[in-house]
Amino acid sequence: MAAKQNSGNNKLAMTILKGRTFIVLIILLIFFSITADNFMSAGALLTVAKHVALYGILAIGMTYVIITGGIDLSVGSVAGLAGMIAGGLIQEGLTLKMFGVTLYFSVPMIVLITVLLGALMGMLNGIVITKFNVAPFIATLGTMYIWRGFANIRSNGATFSELAGSEGLGNTGFEVFGRNLGGTAIPCGVLILAIIAVAAGLVLKKTPFGWHVLSIGGNEKASKLSGIKVDRVKIWVYAFSGFCSAVVGIIATSQLVSATPKTGESWEMNAIAASVLGGTSMAGGVGTVGGTIVGAFVIGVINDGMTMCGVTEFWQKIIRGLVIIIAVIIDQVQRNLQAKMALQARNENK
């Protein structure tokens, strides 16, 4: 009887633990709606959503990477370089010296080129990690510097600010990604976040590929012996992270209607924080896209809420840090409880 009660308590605790990020989000919303004026207004919330869209998309790619047991520190730099590629293509076009011509592409074409290059950059991470056996932290730390360097070289450190394009060259309309959807108050970035989140969520839980990602993080050796092409899956996962980063680079550049090489600096940290807050395990094998989105919103609400309350940037950093550490401690508690419940079930089965 006591055991039954106990396992009932465990189950309740488990439900609370699993929904903890969401509970925290609600508490934060209530808290800021009291302390900050106008926080619960549609306008303010949409601003939060606009900010969240950026590192939310980064965090989705990051979640995939972390689930395989890796890390991608280069996402911010890829975003920055992607912004510079897109911005440069609009403002300066592509000059082919040998033919003495400069090519200008339409905006959809530019977006396609940029995201493909982003995916390629991610793929390179994957290849270095799998084929040359470099630790993900090191490989992506290296490419973080390399892509940032290229972003600066592209314009010699300057900003591309004439991104409106011209009718004559047929490359207008780039700013649409940073604006609201026609006739609504919904930022375009939020829609893109939603589309990528739904697609990534479906792939992770409803396709063999997604389950391969989850199993590699859980036990790479066993996955390999089960016939999963571990290297190939990992390379695609890093490519996906690169793709997400390039998308973010485009949205961020479009929001500012200018491309600077500094775009995306230290954003990888927000992406990792959102993933971890959302319940992704740094040990690999565990994580959901939904959780990551909630995690991204928690960070967004904390950031914007504190700003609206007049908390200084310095204190914001301290609070963000504390939230992340506490989240991971709770994660460990959940894991221990889970192990205990599994053991209990095992004993009951006997």
């Binding site: 479906l202 409803k206 396709t207 063999p208 997604g210 389950w211 391969h212 989850l214 199993s215 993080g217 859980g218 036990n219 050796k221 066993a222 996955s223 390999k224 012996l225 089960s226 016939g227 999963i228 092409k229 395990s281 690999g284 094998g285 565990v286 889970q338 192990a339 419940m341 599994a342 053991l343 079930a345 095992r346 089965n349 006997k350």
Partner: protein, 512 residues
């Protein structure tokens, strides 16, 4: 017994009814053991008999669940190796536990560092001490050389030197020290062992090499299935007595009584001159040839390190660098990857369930369907209904006791976890099933069920190769057995020829 126990005069340490339980198995079952003073005490038994486990208790690496240990009149309990070392007990592990990135004297003085003042390392004293102890072992080495650059034999000497560098050594436990030594190095080792025993140090010696035991041993203790079987002075016994005691002579599993004329059954698999080179020369698998008939259960027996698992690894595509011919149903295979081999109709049940078989973060269903996942597709998506049906069918087929297939895999008992791993292999609809120690770490009941699974699928026409270190088990389930030793095939036995004693003798043949 219990209170006021006093060791016999010639006994340094007495272990009384030691039991050790690991999840799913009883590794040691009330084993009592006298460690004779100044003698070479030999422990012998099959893999998994409990030899190493018993020594881990005495060296303080692990603690018994039940039982007591006495030194003289004092009851002792070692909660870690440091405690055991205080009583003069040192151990040399089966796997060398040196630091390859550190040099010779740093390794010898690891965790016994001498200091000048409180913090500064006194390397001068380290080097003098290391030099002295290596000279005593007649094995002078460059003290500044990294240990990783030394030969295995030299590394073994450092392991011994580590234990000798402090004067108080009373017991030295050596777990298969000769398995990687050359003839010359073994001679030197034996000479050192003689000197140590002459100096009053007791040695516990675990080895699989029966001839060596006759040469160096003073007293033999035999374990089987975690239980004490017999002990005797070496001068009173011979090799065949040891073999008989190790195997027990009795058979507890019923043998297969299938009346099949195998000469009329077609070959599913033919392997010719399979070779896997070893790093540093020689072969892990040495020109191995064998064939496998449809519906046959072929056993591979051998000692640890005989190259058995490596044969499976070659067949599964883990070592694309292997040489030799593998012909399946008349078609020569060019083995490149695991996925390709699974598609070719091979399935592997790996040796280490936790490290190689299961994905602990996934539920029971996914662990079962993992290998076949790409076959259950509806468009780009996973066909969850088909997957569920297949897994349910498998759970029913091999009687996995599951309350809910969405529960975590670790909520199952060891035996049922193993059945999930077997189910995962079978869901890929293989023609050849490779099972590496399929009954390791599961209780007797589950073992019997695993054998029933093997019989059932063999009768349905699946060809199965089983690796096992447990003699009774392999004798019971195999239609034919090949014996490997040092990568070489040293014996092949059909039906009535299969006997435990002959298998054991063959498994030692490859050793010089």
């Amino acid at each position: 017994m219990g209170e006021g126990y006093k060791c016999r005069e010639d006994v340094f340490l007495h272990a009384e009814k030691i039991s050790k339980i690991y999840p799913g198995t009883k590794a040691l079952d009330e084993v009592s053991f006298d460690l004779l003073r100044g003698k070479v005490n030999v422990l012998i038994g099959e893999n998994g008999a409990g030899k190493s486990t018993l020594m881990k208790m005495i060296a303080g690496i692990e603690q018994p669940n039940e039982g007591k240990m006495y030194i003289g009149e004092e009851e002792v309990y070692f909660k870690n190796t440091t405690e055991a070392r205080k009583h003069g007990i040192g151990i040399i592990h089966q796997e060398l536990s040196l630091f390859p990135n550190l040099n010779v004297y740093q390794n010898i003085y690891m965790n016994k560092e001498k200091t000048k003042g409180r913090f500064a390392l006194d390397n001068k004293q380290h080097m003098e001490g290391a030099k002295a102890v290596l000279e005593r072992l007649e094995h002078p080495l460059d003290l500044n050389q990294k240990v990783g650059e030394l030969r295995v034999g030299q590394q073994q000497m450092i392991e011994i030197a580590r234990n000798l560098v402090e004067d108080d050594l009373k017991v030295l436990i050596m777990d298969e020290p000769t398995s990687s030594l050359s003839q010359q190095e073994v001679k030197v080792l034996f000479k050192i062992m003689r000197e140590l025993t002459a100096a009053g140090i007791s040695i516990v010696y675990i080895s699989h090499r029966l001839e060596e035991i006759m040469e160096i041993g003073d007293h033999v203790t035999i374990l089987r299935d975690g239980k004490y079987v017999a002990d005797s002075d070496v001068k009173d016994i011979d090799v065949s007595w040891i073999v008989h005691q190790m195997t027990g002579g009795a058979k507890s599993y019923p043998t297969r009584d299938r009346e099949v004329d195998w000469s009329k059954v077609e070959n599913v698999l033919e392997v010719k001159d399979l070779c896997l080179p070893k790093a540093g020369g020689g072969y892990l698998v040495d020109h191995l040839s064998f064939e496998l008939k449809k519906g046959e259960v072929l056993g591979i027996y051998g000692l640890m390190g005989a190259g058995r698992s490596e044969v499976f690894e070659c067949l599964m595509g883990l070592h694309p660098e292997h040489t030799g011919k593998v012909v399946m149903e008349g078609r020569e295979l060019n083995i490149k990857s695991i996925k390709q081999q699974i598609d070719n109709g091979f399935a592997l049940i790996p040796e280490d369930r936790q490290a190689q078989g299961l994905v602990q973060t996934l539920d029971i269903e996914k662990n079962c369907s993992l290998s076949a996942l790409t076959r259950y597709k509806k468009g780009p998506f996973l066909d969850a209904k088909l997957e569920g049906e297949k897994v349910d069918g498998q759970i029913k087929d091999i009687h996995i006791k599951v309350a809910d297939k969405k529960l975590p895999i670790l909520s199952l008992s060891g035996g049922n976890q193993q059945k999930v791993v077997i189910g995962k292999g079978i869901l890929t609809t293989p023609k050849i099933l490779l099972m590496d120690e399929p009954s390791r770490g599961i209780d007797i009941g589950a073992k019997t069920e695993v054998f029933e699974i093997i019989n059932k699928y063999a009768e349905e026409g699946l060809s199965i190769i089983v690796i096992s270190s447990e003699l009774q088990e392999i004798v019971a389930i195999s239609d034919r057995i090949i014996v490997l030793s040092n990568g070489l095939k040293t014996g092949e036995f059909y039906g009535d020829e299969i006997e435990q004693d002959t298998l054991v003798l063959a498994s030692y043949k490859g050793h010089h």
